[in-house]
Symmetry: C2
Subunit: 273 residues, 2 copies
DNA sequence: CCGGTCCATTCCTCCAGGTTACCGATCGCA
DNA sequence: TGCGATCGGTAACCTGGAGGAATGGACCGG
């Protein structure tokens, strides 16, 4: 078995996502026959069929689904290798900290202040993005502040900064607004805001808050994300949902001392506040 | 920045390990100029120098050290992608469980028996190797039984099966042999057996036990590794060492239901015994 | 039955990864 | 000091294969 090439995996992944050789070829900036040939060659080398093709439709086989997942991991690791090496080569050492806008629960200043007191502290550059965990895996960041949906944590080491029960966000005029606590069943009749599957399609928080104030929807969120809270909204703790954690995360194989120092500082800053 | 190719990373890694272009080229089965050219091109593409070369010696730069680590992770992921896809494509579904010989603490039969009672159980094939965690990362196994040196656990999910204090292994005739417990300080004067840095150089356990019986050395090991124990040896719990864990591990991004079932079964088998 | 869609095949071009041969720098050694 | 050995880089050439354009062939809707 000869070694897999990144080009082959990238081509395969494009087809796996588009399920259409023509569109995938356009996305890759090549002609369709070259793409067909490369994918066929990949199948021959692996000794496995990756797609069920008819002249009308393309579908992944079971093996194709496995490769789609593994190829994503592998290409992210390749990308991370390049970016981390370039950053290590420049004489401008800094620590890239990724987070969603507003995702720090207002704790960032305390964390950064504590980190600055560490002996080997580097300048910290905060980079915002919709998917901080992906930025970690692709080497676009050294550490990230994120909330813990366990499915996004594969391959990352984490330090839990705080955990708390989620809260319902309601208009002050809402019938449930002044209850001391709520259960999911209490919200059964409400138009509960659902997080979209595609992180890119996620609404900005300010927009969501506006919709809630208008009575168009209600939401259940980690409490930290709701601060500061608009005057016309109120939050009520949920009692039957698992607590949500705010985490500091970094690549599992990281040996970076600055990252370790940041984790130390963040834990100290939180517990001390 | 164009995308990194696996060939470039493999070539770079060979030079990084040999620190010698000629030997690395032989290992790769190519001529030395091709290797020099490719590494130079890699440096140009990354915009970073990876090696300090003189006409007499080759050394890694800081960026080179970063890439050496990252390249290893990335290539392991590529290899895993190929192997897992091939296994998914064959119509012979089985679960590959990696472990060191004797590393199961005698728990394997109970675990396998419990797993067989799971609804979607697959045939389990046990594969032995010196570095089970590496076999996981490279896709040569679906799950592994291993003891927890935390540095080997990067990128893996784990289920702790049992934890226990390490024990000292002594000849029955040893002055300390009949103490109820020991501290590391008690062993200060002994010729304590050290685990070699290279896992390949590790002695077989039976050999180590023989040396202990002869009075040539003493060892501190997880208790499970000492069973069954020779008549002429005795084990004494250590009180000032962190407990050692026996873990079931699998790749962090695995979504395999059989692996999940194995984790469930293993946990149940241990807690029930 | 015809036109449109979509993947595969064929044939050609050209680049990049490989080879051999040679060069320049550096060290050990007489 | 000068000779030979070691080692990485450079030059010139060759070739496999990645990519493009044109075409084929299967399948669908109308």
């Amino acid at each position: 078995m000869d070694r897999l090439e990144t080009r082959e995996l990238a081509y395969f992944l494009a087809v796996a996502e588009e399920l259409h050789f023509g569109r995938a070829a356009i996305r890759l900036g090549i002609a369709q026959p070259a793409l067909s040939k490369t994918v066929r060659q990949l199948e021959r080398r692996l000794g496995v069929t990756l797609f069920e093709r008819t002249s009308r439709a393309v579908a992944l086989t079971e093996a194709g689904r496995v490769l789609a997942r593994e190829a994503g991991v592998a290409l992210a690791a390749m990308s991370a290798a390049a970016l981390r090496t370039q950053r290590a080569g420049t004489r401008d050492p800094r620590l890239l900290l990724a987070m969603k806008p507003g995702g720090d629960a207002g704790l960032l200043p305390a964390i950064l202040a504590a980190y600055d007191r560490e002996p080997q502290a580097l300048p910290v550059e905060v980079v915002f993005g919709a998917a901080p965990s992906r930025m970690l895996r692709e080497g676009q960041a050294d550490a990230a502040l994120l909330h813990a949906p366990p499915d996004e944590l594969a391959g990352l080491d984490t330090e839990t900064l705080l955990t708390e029960a989620p809260v319902a966000v309601l208009p002050v005029s809402h019938p449930l607004a002044h209850r001391a606590s709520l259960r999911m069943a209490d919200l059964a009749g409400e138009n509960l805001h659902r997080k979209p599957a595609d992180p890119g399609a996620m609404k900005p928080l300010s927009e969501l808050m506006h919709l809630i104030a208008l009575g168009r929807t209600v939401a259940v969120l980690p409490r930290v994300l709701t601060r500061p809270l608009r005057d016309d909204l109120i939050t009520v703790p949920m009692t039957d949902l698992p607590p949500v954690a705010l985490l500091l995360a970094w690549p599992a194989h990281s040996t970076s001392r600055p990252v370790a120092a940041l984790a130390r500082a963040a834990a100290a800053a939180i517990s001390g506040s």
